[in-house]
């Protein structure tokens, strides 16, 4: 009987990072000659072509079948899977801490708290958990998971542009990409930007790209920017098309991130792929993802952040160093490496000789 490794994702969307990672992992398993189906509870946009409802999993137990749960929120799937006899693996994607949103939206905070509780209750049923960052792994330890592996994420490759280092002291363009939610702390970015404009560059502009997922916070940011007298220089772009996003990466001068909670932070990788210098606040998984591809700011003071942006933008030698750092970091997150690390983690439970042989082939092709 063929080896089967199926994935379970609460909500499959073709545009979000978890959905893209799940489909890429399915492709990797299929390439290894393994039967793999994606089961979902909710399917967005055209995702119905890529997954089937999780209740359609055959009832009969098979000792050649393994199940991977993509843990990112609460879902009836967790209880469904905990009643199955097949070995279960958890691919953890991090849950935003409830305390970061509670002042803005109690309903969301309650839902996040429930998701954390569910992931914790699920721990005894999981043979192995794998995740993309040390920060996420520390979360899993706290939630009661014992057998934890790190594996690079699959990152959807979009159009990129190479950028030559250039010294910019006037008219710099800042860019941040990420959902507009309190834990991403766009208000800190606006403070740092207002400080930068006051001290270094009166013509600077800031582009905030991302789905306004928390409307109250989104409206607050607009009022806040107005109050700090920078609203003319701050663009709130909302969710934009891939083409426009690629254009924003191409025409910006620096990627800036003041986020207080990230399980990985995919936009940093996108900025590295576009050779953009990065300045980021040293929180959660950001230092690990960033490596030497950007400047980490440890002091929450807006002047420290603004000064870091100034140093990075004026110094072409430093920009070149950061680009070299980005090359090293991108190698760490290459598609082949992601395949090897994910399959190796999975095979610690599956223990398949065929899968081991396939991993060896991938390693040799990389060498």
């Amino acid at each position: 009987m063929d080896l089967e490794i199926h994935q379970f994702i609460p909500s499959l969307s073709l545009r979000d990072a978890v959905g893209q990672h799940t489909l890429a992992l399915q492709q990797t398993l299929l390439e290894a000659g393994i039967t793999s189906i994606v089961y979902a509870d909710e399917m967005k946009e055209n995702a119905k072509d890529y997954a089937i409802n999780y209740r359609e999993l055959p009832r009969k137990f098979s000792d050649r079948r393994f199940l991977i749960y993509q843990g990112s929120t609460d879902s009836p799937m967790a209880s469904f899977l905990s009643q199955r006899h097949e070995p279960i693996l958890m691919n953890y994607h991090n849950i935003t801490p409830a305390e970061t949103v509670i002042d803005w939206d109690v309903g969301t905070a309650v839902a996040l708290g429930m998701a954390v509780a569910e992931i914790s209750r699920f721990a005894p049923h999981v043979a192995l958990a794998f995740t993309v960052s040390k920060f996420n792994a520390s979360d899993l330890l706290r939630l009661g998971y014992k057998n934890i592996e790190l594996a690079a994420p699959f990152i959807a490759l979009s159009e990129t542009h190479q950028r030559e280092p250039r010294s910019i002291t006037q008219g710099s363009k800042w860019l941040f990409v990420g959902r507009v939610v309190p834990n991403k702390a766009q208000h800190e970015l606006i403070k740092a930007f207002a400080t930068y404009k006051k001290i270094y560059d009166k013509k600077a502009t800031l582009q905030i790209v991302g789905n306004p997922a928390q409307i109250k916070y989104y409206e607050f940011l607009q009022t806040f920017a107005k109050e700090l007298e920078v609203s003319d220089s701050v663009e709130f772009l909302g969710s934009i098309s891939d083409t426009e996003l690629a254009q924003r990466y191409k025409t910006s001068d620096v990627f800036t991130c003041t986020s207080r909670h990230e399980g990985f932070c995919f936009p940093l990788i996108e900025a590295m792929r576009n050779s953009l210098p990065i300045v980021a606040f040293a929180s959660s998984a950001v230092p690990d993802t960033l490596g030497k591809a950007g400047a980490l700011v440890r002091d929450p003071d807006p002047l420290s952040f603004a000064s870091a942006v100034h140093l990075v933008l004026k110094d072409t030698t430093l920009q070149r160093q950061l680009q070299n750092g980005a090359v090293e970091q991108l190698d760490r997150y290459s598609p082949t490496r992601a395949k090897i690390e994910n399959l190796t983690a999975i095979n610690k439970v599956v223990r398949s000789e065929e899968l081991s042989a396939h991993i060896e082939t991938l390693k040799n092709s990389r060498a």
């Binding site: 509670i102 002042d103 803005w104 939206d105 109690v106 309903g107 969301t108 309650v110 040390k134 920060f135 792994a137 520390s138 979360d139 330890l141 706290r142 057998n147 934890i148 592996e149 790190l150 208000h187 403070k191 207002a194 400080t195 006051k198 001290i199 109250k216 607050f220 009022t223 806040f224 109050e227 700090l228 040293a282 959660s284 998984a285 230092p287 690990d288 490596g291 030497k292 400047a295 980490l296 700011v297 440890r298 002091d299 929450p300 003071d301 807006p302 002047l303 420290s304 000064s307 870091a308 100034h310 140093l311 430093l318 750092g325």
Partner: protein, 341 residues
């Protein structure tokens, strides 16, 4: 398998590979130098940051404000789902079963209707009770938020103010720190100026907005509470901290919590200068008696402070007396402690 020490969230930065850490430390030293230069040139007036903080506080939701909307919404949802629908669907793809279902439904309707009505009544009454509790809790939250600055501002009488001018001149260890130095409850900045004049990169915080009105504009003074500020500090971001003020009248739990958080924010071998008063301090001073009796915590003796500092990794390297700020004030003490590496 990742080990626990590798994945502890507080050590994420420390757990970076050595070459990355070295690179980032060198880069951060440049950033700190740039910040220091801008501050010393007065290009970043503290008033500007104060204005930004005020703007944030003016427009961001107060604690509890969000729950007014969201808790109401959740209660609406509970109430809506509390009505139990007894209209069971009777359709079926199997011939004849639909009639069977319909028959059972009609036969049992009187029973389920009776049960459902009682359950719905129970939910409606329960939600009503929760709404009453919610409204009262909400009023309480708002009141506490309004009172909070006054509560913490009221607990430090002027007679407990200490002058660190001589102390800073005397303690060579303190004047030779490399990196940023934080002074808590710095008021209008006299202590800050003493330290700044020695060429140190210093900033202060104080929650008493009225005292900040007379602050020295050349100094970096921020309008912030101690708890909020120490929580926002990055790992190993400070070379030294001067801890003074109403902190010593807080509860034992608060004191332990703040010391533990500070021990993470101070660099290894960094310094903590703790200013305190003995519990037996004079009761002849009226405002001191009132403050001591109203305070949530009590004054600690030197031996207790030493014990608490040792618990979070500090080693006391010197101690002594500190004169009061004004002639009617009372004598205090200091402990200078080094964070063990």
């Amino acid at each position: 398998m990742s080990t626990e020490s590798e994945t502890d969230s507080s050590s994420i930065y420390e757990a970076l590979e050595m070459d990355i850490k070295t690179f980032q430390n060198e880069l951060y030293a440049q950033i700190e130098k740039e910040v220091h230069e801008r501050r010393s040139q007065g290009e970043y007036p503290p008033a500007f940051e104060l204005a930004m903080d005020k703007a944030f506080k003016r427009h961001a939701p107060h604690p509890g404000e969000a729950s007014v909307y969201s808790a109401e919404h959740l209660l609406d949802m509970v109430e809506a789902t509390g009505y139990i629908d007894i209209a069971v669907p009777t359709t079926s793809s199997t011939p004849g079963v639909a009639y069977l279902k319909l028959f059972v439904k009609k036969l049992t309707a009187w029973y389920f209707n009776y049960i459902a009505q009682q359950l719905s009544n129970f939910v409606v009454n329960l939600v009503h009770l929760l709404r009453v509790i919610h409204v009262r809790l909400d009023k309480l939250e708002k009141r506490v938020y309004e009172l909070y600055p006054e509560i913490i501002a009221a607990d430090l009488p002027p007679s407990l103010g200490l002058s660190i001018y001589d102390l800073v001149q005397k303690e060579i260890e303190l004047t030779s720190v490399k990196g940023r130095l934080l002074v808590t409850e710095c008021a209008s900045g006299d202590a800050l100026k003493t330290i700044s004049d020695l060429g140190l990169d210093v900033y202060g915080i104080d929650h008493r907005e009225k005292l900040l009105e007379n602050r020295n504009d050349r100094l970096d003074i921020r309008w912030e509470t101690l708890s909020h500020h120490v929580e926002s500090l990055a790992l190993n971001s400070l070379a030294a901290v001067v801890l003074q003020g109403s902190f010593e009248l807080r509860s034992a739990h608060d004191k332990a919590d703040i010391l533990a958080t500070l021990s993470k924010a101070i660099k290894p071998n960094g310094l903590l200068l703790l200013l305190h008063h003995e519990p037996a301090v004079s009761t002849d001073v009226l405002d001191l008696t009132v403050a001591k009796e109203l305070a949530p915590g009590r004054l600690f003796s030197e031996v207790t402070w030493r014990h608490m500092l040792n618990l979070v990794g500090f080693q006391v390297i010197s101690h002594g007396a500190v004169p009061p700020l004004d002639k009617d004030g009372v004598l205090g003490n200091y402990l200078l402690a080094r964070l063990e590496s």
